[in-house]
Structures are given as C-alpha cells and as structure tokens.
Amino acid sequence: MSLNPFARKASLPIVDQYGAPGRGNSTFISLVTIVVILGGWWLITHLELIRPLFLPSPEMVISKFNKIACTSHYTEVFLVFIGALDEVSAPCHGFSEHALHEHILWSLYRVFTSFFLAAITAIPIGVAMGMSRFTRGVFDPPIEFYRPIPPLAYLPLTIIWFGIGESGKIFLIYLACFAPIAINARAGVRSVSIEQIHAAYSMGASRGQVIRQVVIKAALPEILTGMRVAIAFGWTTLVAAEMVAAKAGIGVMVLNAARFLATDIVFLGIVVIGAVAFVFDLAMRRLEKSLVPWKGKV
C-alpha cells in the first residue's frame, strides 16, 4: 500500500473570480478606442478644421515616414540585390542627414547602454540595500535626493562634467534608469518571507547561498517591475539627453523638426518613440511572464 491517502488532481483552471476587480478582457475595447482616435484624427484633418501646421493629416505623416525612412531607396536596393533591378536611382536624404533607422538605432544605443549599465549596478546595490543596514544607510540619501529632480534640471551639470559627447547623454539616461531599479530591488528583498530564509539556513545554506538562491529569486518579480519602469524612464529622458549636440537620434529629429515647424516630422518622431517604447514594454512583460510565472500567485 502506498502512503498516499490522497488522490486529488491539482490543476486549476483560470476562471475570473466573482467580484475580482476589473475582471474580464479589455482588448476589444482598447481596439475600438484606437480606431476612434485614428478615425477622429483623419476626419478632423480632412474636414480642415485645424491647419496642418498644428495638426498634419495621417497621410502627411505617412508620406514623411516614407521620405525619411527612404522607403523607395531601400526597396530599390532590395530589388537590385535580388536581381530584379539594374541600379538604385531613388535618393535617400533622410532628415538631419540621417535616415530614420539611423536615428532609431542611435537612440536605441543610448537608451540600452544606459539601461544595461543601470541594471548591472542598481540590482546589486538595491539588493545590498535591502540586505544590509550599512549599504542602505550609505545609498538612501543620494538616491532619495536626486530621484525626484527632473533630468532637465541636471542636464547642464552633465554637460559641464562630461562635455557634449556620448558619455554625458548616457550618464543622464543612466541616472533616470538607476533609481527605479535600485528602489524596486530593495523593496523586492523585503518580499522574501522569514520562513523561507529560516528554511534555507536549516538546510545548511550559507549567507551567500541565502542571498543568491532565496533572496534574489524572491526579489526577481519586483526587480523586473523596476526594470520595466526604468526603461520607460529611459525613453522619457532620451529627448532631453539628445538636446545637447547630438547628430542623430529620434530626439534630435523631433527637436530639429520643431525648429523648422515641420509638425509632421514631430508627429512621426513621437509615434516612433511611442511605438518603440511600447514594443519594449511588451517584451518586458513577456519576459516577466516567462521568468516569474509565480508572480501574484503566492
């Protein structure tokens, strides 16, 4: 006879609980909202209710996109490559001497370098702040001091310190990403239960093992939340960072376009930043789902 007096299956179907706040799927409603906004935009511009200088039509933005992204140029390049065309004749001017993808890549490079540097420094510091009184005492004042200051306010300082090269821009975005990651990592450490720590010690864990195998894992959901917030802050700070003597970047594109009152390009830039940020937020959420499937379930 087996020792098992139980024979129950433990699979839980995912059903909305009665009275659970905000239950139900909202995707369809969101799609309707998007359609209404785009439709309204199209209608207002086509009825010429607002001058294009203030609100360009969707078509104008799309044609600007094709021009700056050099769509026909690259289509021809592709056709030449597969041998369907003899030579590329369409020019590629881009905007501010760079095609759209170059702007995007420069901005991605800045945001992700800063984000990466912030993650590898803020995670250990945040965890250490949660684990040790001393580290918390040291890092709490500087982080809490600079955190609420808008990046634009210390932008001049980064120019004085780092000059107008890449390092100043990266430092600025780095600061924006650092605080949310560190603060969330620190809070995450608190979410480990004392029983989990006690259990590990009574199975012979060393302090290092408790930190690596229990505390950091337990903090992971909140660390990932911090990273999500940080990357959003990174995009927010990008335009400020690119205000200073950058040659390429989506922020540069928007700022230069504003100088020439090229509203359609400003729109394009905004849409591109929004789209890129959205894609990365989506990726972070996917990552969260696969890395911390237990989140909110225990």
């Binding site: 087996s2 020792l3 098992n4 007096p5 139980f6 129950r8 433990a10 699979s11 839980l12 239960s193 029983e195 989990q196 006690h198 259990a199 590990a200 010690y201 009574s202 199975m203 012979g204 864990a205 060393s206 093992q209 195998q213 229990v214 894992k217 337990a218 992971l220 911390v292 499937p293 237990w294 379930k297 225990v298």
Partner: protein
C-alpha cells in the same frame, strides 16, 4: 535511549510592548529529546511553543540556559535539525522536485544523486506524480507534504514542526497525521511537533508536554503509546474513539481549560482591585 538534544534551564525573555519589563516566553525549561521520540507540545496560544522550537532550531538565542546538541552547544540553525513550517515556506520559483532537493543542491551534491533522493522522499509522502508541478498549483495539504519531503531529504537527526497541520481541513489533517507517523517510523527521526489540537497531540506523541503561558513553562508531561498502537493496527478511528483515549483527552482538556479559568480569574481579580 541516547539523548539527542538537551535543554537545561533555558529561559527566553522578550521586551514587553509597553517598554516596562519583559515577557518571559520560556522560563527555566529543562527537557531532553531522546532518539526515537515523538515529542508533542500542547498549550494555549502564547505559551511559548514556537519560541521553544525556534530556540532548538537555532533561530533564537536564549537569554539564559544551555542547549546541547549531541553534547555540543547550539549556536545557530543546522542541517541536523530540519524544520517544517506552519505555512509551507516553499520556494515558488522551483517546482516540487526542485524544492525537495534544494537542501542537497546547497550542499553541492551531484544532480542525479540529489534527484534520486528527492524522488525517494516524494514517494514517501505520496507525491511521485507531482514532481514537475509548480508549488502554487498544489493544494495546502500537498504543499505541506512537499515541506515534509524537503526537510526529510536533508536527512536531519531531528524534525521540528510548528503546527504543520494547522491550516488543513479535518479530513486532510487526519490523513497527514497518519502519514507523518508512518514517515517517522520509516525514517526513525526525533520529532518535535507543535499543535493546538489535544486529539492530535494524544494520537501522535510518545511524549506529550503541556505548556502554560506567562511565564512559559512545561506543567505536565505524559508518556503515551497511541501512536505505536496505530502503527501496529493501522486504524486511527478505533484508537481515537477508545475509552482510554477519550479519558486522556478529557483530562488534558480540563488541565488546559483549568489554567484558562485561573487566568481569567486572576485578571478579573487584578482588574477589580482598587
């Protein structure tokens, strides 16, 4: 029988809430755990049962007194004393079998070896079919059994269990009592088990200690063999409904109840005094 853990004049004081004085959670406890014993502590809430367990586990250092583990003073938690918690305390990022082998992983035991030993203990608690399940998809009773298997896999000399069945329904609870007794028999460990249920205490203990609060003391001690009888005949209900069992149950209930009556009388007297 060899002494495994020995407490002599162990006291534990906590600072009282109002700042004035201290709470004596344990007051001069003398107690020996001998090999093969199943010791159950019973007592009203707040009488120091968890404190006693924490002191033995090494999570708390007593204010005075000495605890020896095979003759050596206890300075902290260790692999020789496995703990099963009231709320499971499993690690949700690991599945059932990974949780079970966690202790061996910490020791750096090769993967195949630790998997084998974890599987042995999972089958001992009847969870062989759930090895790959995430923890949060198990019922409360199953989680508690993973906690037990995890503690067993480290092969401690002693198992410390703080109300491990407190959160379970009556039916699951009785099944778990029987399971724990069978595991105890099969693995031959010293068990220290805390419960609020008189029936559970009587059924499982070879030695039952009744504690009283403020200051936390052991007031009564019984040697019992209902568990041995159960392991022989395998019919728990028959034992729990025997006249002897019921007589013991009423006796212990009246002790605990009597203390409470005394205490209420004390408080009213104190409150009524001018």
């Amino acid at each position: 029988m060899a002494t495994v853990i020995s407490l002599s004049r162990v006291s534990m004081e906590f600072p009282a809430l109002e700042g004035a004085g201290t709470v004596k959670a344990l007051d001069n406890i003398d107690f020996d755990f001998r090999s093969g014993e199943f010791v159950v502590a019973l007592g009203a809430s707040g009488c120091g049962k968890t404190t006693l367990l924490n002191v033995i586990a090494g999570f708390l250092t007593p204010t005075s007194g000495e605890i020896l583990n095979h003759g050596h003073p206890i300075t902290g938690p260790g692999r020789d004393r496995g703990v099963v918690f009231q709320k499971h305390a499993l690690l949700p990022w690991l599945n059932v079998v990974e949780n079970t082998e966690f202790g061996l992983m910490l020791q750096g035991i090769p993967a195949s070896e630790r998997r084998r030993r974890a599987q042995e203990n999972l089958s001992l608690v009847g969870l062989s079919d759930f090895q790959r399940y995430p923890i949060y998809q198990l019922s409360g009773g199953m989680q508690q059994r993973v906690g037990l298997a995890r503690a067993l896999t480290c092969d401690p000399d002693m198992l410390l269990m703080d109300e491990p069945l407190g959160a379970l329904d009556a039916f699951t609870r009785e099944n778990m009592q029987e399971l724990i007794l069978r595991v105890w028999k099969a693995t031959d460990k010293v068990v220290f088990f805390i419960t609020h249920s008189v029936e559970e205490a009587l059924f499982m203990a070879t030695r039952l200690v009744v504690m009283s609060p403020r200051p936390g003391r052991i007031t009564h001690e019984y040697s019992l063999d209902f568990c041995h009888r159960f392991l022989e005949i395998g019919d728990a209900r028959k034992i729990k409904s025997s006249t002897e069992f019921i007589r013991m149950r009423e006796e212990i209930l009246s002790i605990i109840h009597g203390e409470e009556v005394d205490e209420i009388a004390d408080t009213t007297a104190a409150g009524g005094a001018p």
